[in-house]
Symmetry: C2
Subunit: 165 residues, 2 copies
């Protein structure tokens, strides 16, 4: 039983559905590609009870011991209100600890526990597999090209302000 032919009109004479306008947009293609990454990453991280954001913060804190929450926010490009919830969860699970930052009683100095490190090591391996699967159609050269192109978009700044520091 096939029924997707011309029954309710004519979508393109033979059942094909056109999306020329959308497919002509890089943003749309980016979205579709990103969703593949996102959904697959989500599944893979679920086994560790991690999500995109918690993994990212875990990674940052591991690479930058004693980082503050606002530094996490700035580096990840999210709001600091967002980091609170993430760190809350990581802390409750014993993966990260909030120590007081020496010299600034407003800020925390985040640190990862051994459990956090162990979980991260496992998760990062899983993510490597995930990326390899998603990108299986691309050669190493393609992947390098893609990475380079994405990073150049990465740096585009259309109207922000980032000259203070």
């Amino acid at each position: 039983m096939k029924q997707t032919d011309a029954k309710a009109g004519d979508e393109k004479s033979d059942g094909e559905i056109g999306q020329a306008d959308l497919l002509g947009l890089i943003g749309y293609n980016m979205k579709r590609a990103y969703m593949l990454f996102y959904q697959d990453l989500k599944q893979n991280l679920a086994e560790f009870d991690l999500r995109q954001r918690t993994f990212s913060v875990l990674s940052l804190v591991i690479e930058n011991p004693n980082i503050s929450q606002i530094e996490v926010a700035r580096t990840l490009g999210i709001e600091r209100s967002g980091t609170v919830v993430i760190v809350d969860e990581l802390e409750e699970r014993g993966l990260v600890v909030r120590e007081r930052a020496p010299g600034d009683r407003r800020a925390y100095a985040l640190a990862v526990t051994d459990a956090g490190k162990a979980l991260y090591r496992k998760a990062i391996k899983r993510i490597a597999d995930h990326e390899d699967r998603i990108l299986s159609d691309l050669s190493q050269s393609d992947r390098k090209d893609l990475m380079a192109l994405l990073r150049r978009i990465h740096m585009v700044d259309k109207g922000g302000k980032q000259s203070e520091d």
Copy 2:
């Protein structure tokens, strides 16, 4: 492979925040790039009271008169429960009409009104500008490469079940 042993994030070691692990992931770079697209698109579409999803559906219905909601869902890669809300909104705003599909009283035959077409024409122009701005650092050749690479990811299918027609 190596990870987290060389702590490869200490270029400056006094103010710089490392994110070597994350930046080494294509998925992370994709996310950052996509977020730039998304946020900017959102702002630009806001002037037309459109959002990503409503614009996409509008585009599809324009390109495919009498398309059904499930066809929209399948083409966009979303759930059909999602299309309901979008079409609801488009219909309330008089941009799209739900006509009954001749020959199938379950399905709708979606069509765009003149107002919908007019709005779409304006919006698509705005989006072209938006893309041009976001991609201003990339040459036309770069953009073509990026598009091609994204589409190849686009086609990756790890679940492997869509060969029924």
